[in-house]
Amino acid sequence: MTNDGRPIDMARGMDESGLGMPGMTMASMSMPGMPAGSTKVAAATTGDNGVPQVAQFVRYSGWPELKEALMSGRLKVAMMLAPMVMDLADKGVPVRIVALGHRSGAVIMVRNDSKAKSFSDLKGKRIAIPSRFAVDHIFVRRLMKEHGLDDRDLTMVEIAPPDMPAALLAGAVDAYATGEPFGAKSEIAGYGRILYMTRDVWPTYICCVLTVREELIKSDPELVQNLVNHVMSSGQWLDSDPKHRLVAAKLASDRSIFNQAYELIKWVMERPADRVTYGDLRLIKSEFEEMMLLAMNAKIINHPIPYETYVDETFMRRYRPVKINVQ
């Protein structure tokens, strides 16, 4: 429920989570784990248009907290970093990826007065990443490889995304890599500019993925199916009309959701419209395999993890579009 007692319907919530703000501290939306009984209730209680209603969304202020809640089973569903889910599933935590959260949506920011025109100009500089285990780190590694930079050429420092704009302004780092909206923050404030967007160099970039605990898949596959239907439909809805993006930005800026300025999210949604995309949230094996190898290269995981260990394609295959009715 939102603060004023209005139930949040899954579709709408997931539009917003589909924004997929992948920062450490803006983690993800997630559906709080409910005792088995109330999960049933949540599944059974559907709104007027068949939209499953859940008790509330919880915004975690950091990835570790979100991960721990998911590992302990207190949380049944989460928007989670893809490589982290791979690692958890490999270590025996019963979690599966059932859909993507968004594509693209990461940026590399430099100061307006920076002379850097290409990634190779960052040679010898300092770049901030959210953490070694973040997908943004993989993005940086990929650019390093493309531009022929090795570990000695770039100093990576780990800073929580909300602190990155200040670190850039203060000159503590020469660039930073993060998920939106923390790139747009320094852009709107007028001292930062984009050096790279995933949309230009890696449009199929995957960051946050819809992750479900296996016991929920077993106990309530209809709920999970309904969730996937709504998440994927919401993504298409978002990309089908620019006006929809503004509606979602308005909803997402709410204090109970992202608690970020509407103008900031609107900026991310519009400049340009494919800065973050949602239209194709299907799971594609080759993309995950590529991501897994890159994660291995970045030492996020230390051995190959088979796709089947961490993905459940069932729900995506049985996907039925639903009408997204949000004003």
Binding site: P64, M71, D87, K91, R132, F133, E158
Partner: protein
């Protein structure tokens, strides 16, 4: 030392470890003592443990000594001159309860992302308890000592160095002991600021990793052990003759 002196402490530790072991069985997040021992072994083998310990001790030492260097003179002035106390105490009391975590954005802005930021946070955390303890120690110095010294013509800085400071030293040492505890306590929070070493960093990094909670708890154990050692050193200071006079032994 006679066994009867340390056996009870060992017994309590053993009970705690046993409870830990039982509650950790079958948990995805809480590692068993054995897993933690193995993690410490891994850190020792790769040589990273000492790197983290040195980095944290370095930051704590600099932050702590910096805090002492400023807090003891300032606290002394506040304790001795009521006008100083009235002027400065409100600011001290307002800044004192603010957690170092809240200072992180400002620390990055002012000190960047090197060693200076965490050192500054440790400095902040340590500074206030020492100021408060010093001020109250100096304030409570018995007037008869001061009067006696004045009768002998002792004044100014000599009076402070020879009479007031030694008389306030037991309080100051207590403040220093609390301060060191706090400095070590905030090391995890302070090392959230972008750096690539330190025991706090070890814990934060291990939490960010997929499932390395054995390293998280290993970091906690090491911090605990070093904290215990540091407190032992401070207690030794309390037994110095210059300090013990007050206890009448």
């Amino acid at each position: 030392m006679r066994p009867s002196r340390f056996l009870p402490a060992l017994g309590i530790l053993a009970v705690l470890v046993a409870l830990w072991w039982v509650s950790a069985i079958g948990s995805m997040i809480f590692p068993t003592p054995l897993a933690v021992l193995k993690a410490i072994g891994e850190l020792l083998r790769t040589g990273t443990l000492m790197q983290h310990v040195y980095a944290s001790l370095f930051r704590v030492t600099i932050g702590y000594l910096g805090a002492l260097a400023l807090a003891i003179p300032l606290g002394s002035m506040m304790g001795w001159f009521p006008r100083w106390f009235r002027a400065i105490n409100p600011a001290v009391q307002m800044l004192r309860p603010i957690s170092p975590i809240a200072w992180i954005p400002l620390a990055i802005l002012w000190f960047g992302v090197g060693d200076a930021s965490p050192t500054f946070l440790i400095f902040l955390a340590t500074f206030f308890p020492v100021v408060v303890a010093t001020a109250s120690g100096v304030h409570m110095v018995e007037q008869q000592y001061v009067r006696a010294a004045r009768n002998f013509g002792v004044n100014g800085f000599t009076l402070y160095r020879r009479v007031i400071f030694p008389a306030a030293l037991p309080n100051i040492i207590t403040g220093m002991r609390v301060g060191l505890g706090v400095a070590w306590l905030v090391v995890v929070a302070a090392e959230m600021v972008a750096i690539n070493s330190g025991l706090g960093y070890l814990i934060i990094d291990a939490r960010n990793a997929g499932s390395r909670y054995d390293l998280v708890v290993a970091g906690m154990v090491i911090i605990g052990l070093i904290g215990f050692g540091l407190d032992g050193v401070m207690r030794k200071l309390e037994h110095l003759e210059e300090v013990r006079w007050r206890y009448g032994t």
